[in-house]
Amino acid sequence: MLDTFFNVEIMKAAWPILLAGLGNTLLLSVTVVPLGLLGGLMLALLARLHSPWVRWPLMAWVDFFRAFPPLVLLILLYAGLPFIGIELGGFGCVAIAFFLNTGAYYGEILRAGIDSVPTGQTEAARSTGLSASQTMAWVVLPQAVRNVLPDLMSNTLEVVKLTALGSVVAMPELLFQARQAQSLTYNPTPIVVAALVYFALLWPLVRLLSRLENRALRAG
């Protein structure tokens, strides 16, 4: 059993491959999390325009991406676009898919955050002579982010986990590298090690979130 799932020899051999994968997973994460946040911020700010011409399409947009599995979006871009001569490569497709998909989720969270800041804050800020965009950037957004920080963190955890989808479009991230190593060695040890690496990477965040969520529910 140990020889099958925790084979030390194979661990040693696979470690450099997995380490390269971990590097790419981290690189991918620090790219797609800001991209998703940017997309979300754009949606949340658009939602501030209380016109029905903006609100309904926005709601449809968000519901669309909530209903659409991210992997399907990714495959659609990766396998579909080359047919009309657009070759974005794995990384480009992942970036666009995450911008759209996780942007919709971040957007909902940020919108709720902005709604939670009392209007008096905006009025007070505007009356001191700040412009509308200054008010948003320096007064409303910092409070909004604070109010929904657990949700933002929880979504960020999901986004980092989602980077494993990159393996399907041949991005050499952690899961992809582990599967390569597994098929080279005919041994599942590299996948077990990759799972342990994910766990070590994300467990602190899970623990923190679990505490924050419990506290929020008790206070609610």
């Binding site: 099958t4 909530r66 992997l71 599967r179 799972a195």
Partner: protein, 226 residues
């Protein structure tokens, strides 16, 4: 052929769609079956774990917290791959369908246990004490007083989490489950035309848009009182 016609011919090719829509339809049934199994087993086992945790057996609770944390920290695709490619080395050969079901049910179990547990602890202590002092047993107090209040709190977070995990059935395509995405991908490579993917995408929207809209309604209907 104009550019627009070429675009239509590529992504909305009627001939290709006519040929492959029965496959996609079959994929839809597999997706529905998989999703139902995941939701029922995942939520039931999550509730069972939360109730077990309420019994307050220390070492058992630590073990449970650790397992739940691990399932929350690992990407679902990694768990699927681990089951599908790992277990055969231990003499078990689960099919892609079973691997996907088991992995997603475990993930949903972990998330729903957390949510149910948070709901149970959110019910004020006084409710327990009052119920017990009227002569209800521990189990009676739990099932007739605490749980009904707890479940109400858990509905909004549980709904959005369940939808998110159910969409993960698409991950089954990676381990050769013939659900919507799997069917669509193989149809694309057989026909050398991406129209089946568009059909597949439409199939997902047909299945999940009503769920998302219903979920939105449920979330506002049972929203936490702030």
């Amino acid at each position: 052929m104009t550019g627009w016609e070429r675009f239509l011919d590529t992504f909305f090719n009627a001939k290709v769609m006519a040929k492959y829509w029965p496959d996609i339809l079959h994929g839809m049934w597999v997706t529905i079956e998989l999703a139902m199994l995941v939701v029922v087993t995942g939520i039931a086992s999550g509730l069972a774990l939360a109730l077990l945790r309420a019994a307050g057996i220390r070492p058992l609770n630590w073990l449970m917290i650790f397992v739940v944390d691990a399932l929350r920290a690992l990407p679902p695709l990694v768990i699927i791959v681990l089951i599908y490619f790992g277990l055969p080395s231990a003499g078990l050969t689960p099919s892609g369908f079973v691997s996907t079901w088991a992995a997603l049910a475990l993930v949903l179990m972990a998330f729903s246990e957390e949510i149910f547990w948070a709901g149970i602890t959110a019910v004020p202590r006084g409710q327990w004490e009052a119920a017990r002092s009227t002569g209800l047993s521990y189990a009676q107090a739990l099932f007739h007083v605490v749980l009904p209040q707890a479940l109400r709190l858990t509905i909004p977070p549980l709904t959005s989490r369940t939808i998110a995990i159910t969409k993960g059935t698409a991950l089954g395509s990676v381990v050769a489950v013939s659900e919507i995405l799997g069917q669509a991908s193989s149809a694309v490579s057989n026909s050398y035309n991406p129209s089946p993917l568009i059909l597949g995408a439409a199939a997902y929207l047909v299945l999940f848009i009503p769920v998302v809209v219903a979920g939105r309604w449920v979330e506002t209907r049972f929203a936490w009182k702030k």
